[in-house]
Structures are given as structure tokens and as C-alpha cells.
Symmetry: C2
Subunit: 317 residues, 2 copies
């Protein structure tokens, strides 16, 4: 295999509390800030600059996903450069502050890598979510985590959205991904989920240091889940209330292949509704709390194998 | 054994949405209202009057526990008869409406039985929570549910609080209990939890009909868990932030005996904190989402066996 080159990652941002009730990232960022204070008192050298960011402090304080609107949908170029007024939602104002701090998005001044920490109520294990299936930095990090954390189910999710449409905080960096871990109820900290996230972030930073030091990052195959479809809950046409829950045979079975005619929902009166698609697909974000209001009961993905080339830091390409 | 008598239960209330983000009770009450509409169109006779109540409609609409204050703490005699003004919290106003509808609390006009539906993020199975360990109506219903639902873990929890201090909606009825089911994240419906609650309510109403028809309800022994102690999370003295999560070895182990020196918390830096009590006790409400703000990480109970006498509807005592 040919050796390819990728540029130095000198500035990394680790963000928590982009959603103010997703507790692992909030407490992890606070803990890392505390630890840094101690380390700085010991005057240790830093091989890479790591910014620690609490993204939505007002939502964190109120333990809500957001105050006015979902911050993690505010990072499109259009929203970041739209008009401002006295009635501009808090999160739109905050998204510009974050874009100044970590970006500007799409500019040479943007940080090299954004890792944005999230939780889900779905049984998804640890997922990296990215807008690209050929961002080798994200994919090498994913592979490193898979090797270092054999006891944690790890998946790479690809949202096939153009750079113009990309809307989340991690899109502000030159490279970026969301680290999404579940299941955990929003507003709750589960120790095992916190510990997995802490390990994931540490392994990610270790890989960045390893790469920056000029080491070769081995290539290899990984599975990439590309989102292709979403389903809403069945709803009452008048009240818009949901009329069914995710079927007990589907609940918690994220990333287990869903076949045509498999149970999808169970109505509140007890009836089973089935998957009517023609193609077997992989469900994920099954019954995620925050997606009721977005009209998403589950997402479906196609899986494909991606070959990561061997890379080394340098000026080659 | 002697046969004892208990009065007819002619008016029963089933309440959901006392907490606006505990979804099973909300969708169950809505579903029962729909079914009733159909039944009424069929002009069926009703042996017992069942009121179906959505307790906190504004909180339900916003999918929040409450708007201004926790409705399920507003039913003390003091709060129900306190002064009112323009700034009275919504839930205090609503508690009086409910007291008029279902009470007045402590009066002969109060409904005979209130069953208030709740969810918890804790792994508690189905619990009946009551202020009395000798309310035979509640205990007979509990025993009936235990027999009818052998696959669901069922417990009876006793909060040893005087009638004067009792604060929850179910205290408005002559008899009353909360039906608490978990684990389920707040804001989420899990089909299995919904189905268990639906079965629990149906079996409860079946028992009431059976009892009202003059049948003998057999006595027997049941375990009662009486709450004796609560622990808060360890917190930072300045920020009041929690500094530890429930220990992974304790998480999800509700009603498994906790012994002195067993792990209680794991700090965010990785340290284990242990249970320093002298007496082994039964933990429950472990890591309940809504109790972070109340300063409760878990509750502890003593278990004892209670003998339920044989009862029959009548005027005996």
C-alpha cells in the first residue's frame, strides 16, 4: 500500500454541553478543565493545543436541550451569516460566538479537529458521526478507538450532507465528528457511559499526539453506516400525538439489520405495524428522546466497507 | 382467619401526566379516554365510576416535569388551603382544581381510590407507592397484581409520612397509591413499559369490580419496603455540581440489598466511595433523573413482611 500524507493537527477542540441535558460530555469537559488547572500548576508541556468548550452554558445551567432552538442545527453558513436582531434566539447568538472561537467555518483559521460530545437514549454504544466517509483523520481515529476499546460497541455513522448544508458544531473544524454514546436518559449520568466517553476522548487525543509525532497510522477496512432514510412515529392526524411506540422487538436493537415485514411499531391499542421497505437496512437512533419533536422515530442506514489508506503526518497531500 | 369488611369502592380515579414528561401514564390515559368514547357509543353499563384525569396538561403539552413547581408536592393541607395571588405558581392553582375534582382531601366527598401513574429512570419494575403499610385496599390490589403479572417485578413501597404531611396527588383520595414503572427515560415511551402499566391498571380495575361484587379477597403475606434514608450525590461545595455518579456496581440494582462498605458512587476522577451505614438496606430510586434537583441520588428501605387479612365488601368495619 502507498503511504499518504496528512497535515499536522495542532489545534483540537473537545466540546460538551452542546445539548444542555446530555450529561456525560458536560461533566467530562468540567473534569478535564479541573485536571488541566492542576496540570498547569505543575507546568507540564503540551504537544497539542486542546480547547475545552462548554458549548451551551445557559442550557446546561437549566439542564435542557436548548433555550430557544437546537444549537446543533445552527452552524450552516446561512445561519452563521444571517441577519441579527433583538429577537434573535440565544442559540443563534451562541453559534456565532462558537464560530469565532473555533472557526470561522471553512476558513484556514478554523481549528484542525472538533470532537463534540453527545448522549442518546438509544442503545447505540459509542458512535462517531461525521459528514464524510473519506475524512481519513476521523476514520483513523475511529479505527484507533476500535482497537483500544474492544469491550465497547463502536460504529462510524456517515450523514451524507454537503458542506453547504452541514449544520452541527463539529462542522466548524477542518475535521470534526460527534462522539455519541448511549443508552443514557437525558438529564442523567450513568457511570459506565461517562467512563466510556472519557476513555474515547483520551484515546482520540493519544492518536492525535501519535500522529503529530510523525508515526505511521496503519490503514485497513472499517464499516461505515450511511444514513439513507428516517421514519416518524404514527401520529393522530388531528392532535399530532403519536399513536404507537417503537415495537418491543425493535427497541434497543440499534444496528441489527431490519428486514422487510419486521415489526416496527406497536400502537397504544396493541396492533403491530411492520417495516414495508424493500431493502434490509440498519436501524439506529431508535426511540431517541430528542427526536420526537423532530418527527424521527428511527433512522436507517446502508452499511459499506471503506478502505483507509496508510497515512503519516507530512506535506505530501 | 377472620373475615373483615371494607366499604364499597364506587368512585376510582386513574391519573396520568402528573409529571408532564412521564409518558406511559399520559398515553395510557389518552388511550383509555379514546376507548371509553367508543364504549359509550356502544352504551355499555359501568359497575364502577372511573374518572380519567390528565393532571398537568400544560406540562404535558411542553413535555416537562412541571411548569413552575412539582405538582406532586402540592397536595398538603397547608398548600391546598394557603393564600393565593397573581403570582401563585400554575401547579398550585392546578392542585386546587384537582382537589375540587377528586377530593376535597380528607372529606367524605373524596373519591374512594386514586391511582396516579408515574415513570422513573430507575430500574424499579412496577411499584405501588403508598403512605400506609396497612391500607388493605392498596395491599389487596398489590397482591392481585403480583398474582396476575408474574413476569413483572412488583414491589410495595411505603413512605412513612403522616396524613398531615402527605403531599402527592394520590393522597387526595380515601385510598390511593402511585403506580411507578421503570426504567424509562423521561420524554420517551417504551412499548414494554406502556404495556405493563396498561395491564397493571386493568388488573387494578378488575380487582375493584371483583371486590365490589361481594367476592372475598384472600389474605396473605406481602413484603413492604419502608423508606428510611436518602443520599445525595457528592457535590462540589462551591458550584454545587455533582462530583460523582452512582457506582456502576450499584446502578440498576434497585431492591438488591446494599451492605456496609459496598460501592455507592464513582467520582468523575475515578475514585470509589462506599456505603458507610451500619445496617444493610434496600436501595431504590437509584439515579432517578428528576431527583438530581431534589438532592436525592438514591433512597434506602427496610423490608418487612405484612399480613393482609381476608376482606370482603360490607359494613362490618
Amino acid at each position: 500500500m502507498h503511504l499518504h500524507f496528512l497535515p499536522l493537527l495542532s489545534r483540537v477542540a473537545v466540546c460538551g454541553g452542546t445539548h444542555g441535558n446530555e450529561m456525560s460530555g458536560i461533566y467530562l469537559v468540567k473534569e478535564l478543565l479541573k485536571a488541566r488547572k492542576k496540570v498547569m500548576e505543575d507546568e507540564e508541556e503540551k504537544p497539542v493545543s486542546v480547547m475545552l468548550v462548554l458549548s451551551n452554558p445557559r442550557a446546561v445551567q437549566q439542564c435542557r436541550r436548548y433555550i430557544d432552538t437546537d444549537l446543533n442545527r445552527c452552524f450552516t453558513h446561512a445561519t452563521l451569516s444571517g441577519p441579527m436582531s433583538d429577537t434573535t434566539p440565544y442559540e443563534i447568538i451562541r453559534s456565532r460566538e462558537l464560530n469565532t472561537m473555533l472557526g470561522p467555518k471553512g476558513s484556514p483559521g478554523a481549528v484542525d479537529l472538533v470532537c463534540d460530545l453527545h448522549n442518546t437514549t438509544a442503545n447505540m454504544g459509542l458512535c462517531l458521526i461525521s459528514y464524510s466517509d473519506c475524512d481519513w483523520i476521523c476514520l483513523h481515529i475511529f479505527r484507533h478507538l476500535q482497537r483500544q476499546m474492544p469491550d465497547v460497541p463502536l460504529r462510524y455513522i456517515h450523514f451524507d450532507v454537503s458542506n453547504k448544508e452541514s449544520y452541527s458544531l463539529d462542522s466548524v473544524g477542518k475535521h470534526g465528528f460527534a462522539m455519541e454514546i448511549g443508552p443514557q436518559p437525558h438529564g442523567v449520568v450513568r457511570s459506565n457511559v461517562y467512563t466510556a466517553m472519557k476513555a474515547g476522548v483520551q484515546h482520540m487525543l493519544d492518536w492525535v499526539s501519535f500522529f503529530n509525532s510523525g508515526n505511521v497510522s496503519e490503514g485497513g477496512f472499517v464499516d461505515v453506516f450511511t444514513m439513507v432514510k428516517r421514519f416518524d412515529y404514527p401520529r393522530d392526524s388531528e392532535t399530532h400525538d403519536i399513536t404507537a411506540a417503537v415495537h418491543p422487538q425493535l427497541q434497543d436493537r440499534d444496528f441489527c439489520l431490519l428486514h422487510p415485514e419486521d415489526p416496527l411499531f406497536q400502537t397504544f391499542s396493541g396492533e403491530t405495524l411492520r417495516y414495508k421497505g424493500k431493502e434490509p437496512l440498519y436501524p439506529f437512533f431508535i426511540n431517541e428522546c430528542a427526536y420526537y419533536e423532530k418527527g424521527i422515530a428511527l433512522s436507517l442506514a446502508r452499511k459499506r466497507r471503506v478502505m483507509i489508506p496508510i497515512h503519516k503526518m507530512g506535506r505530501g497531500n
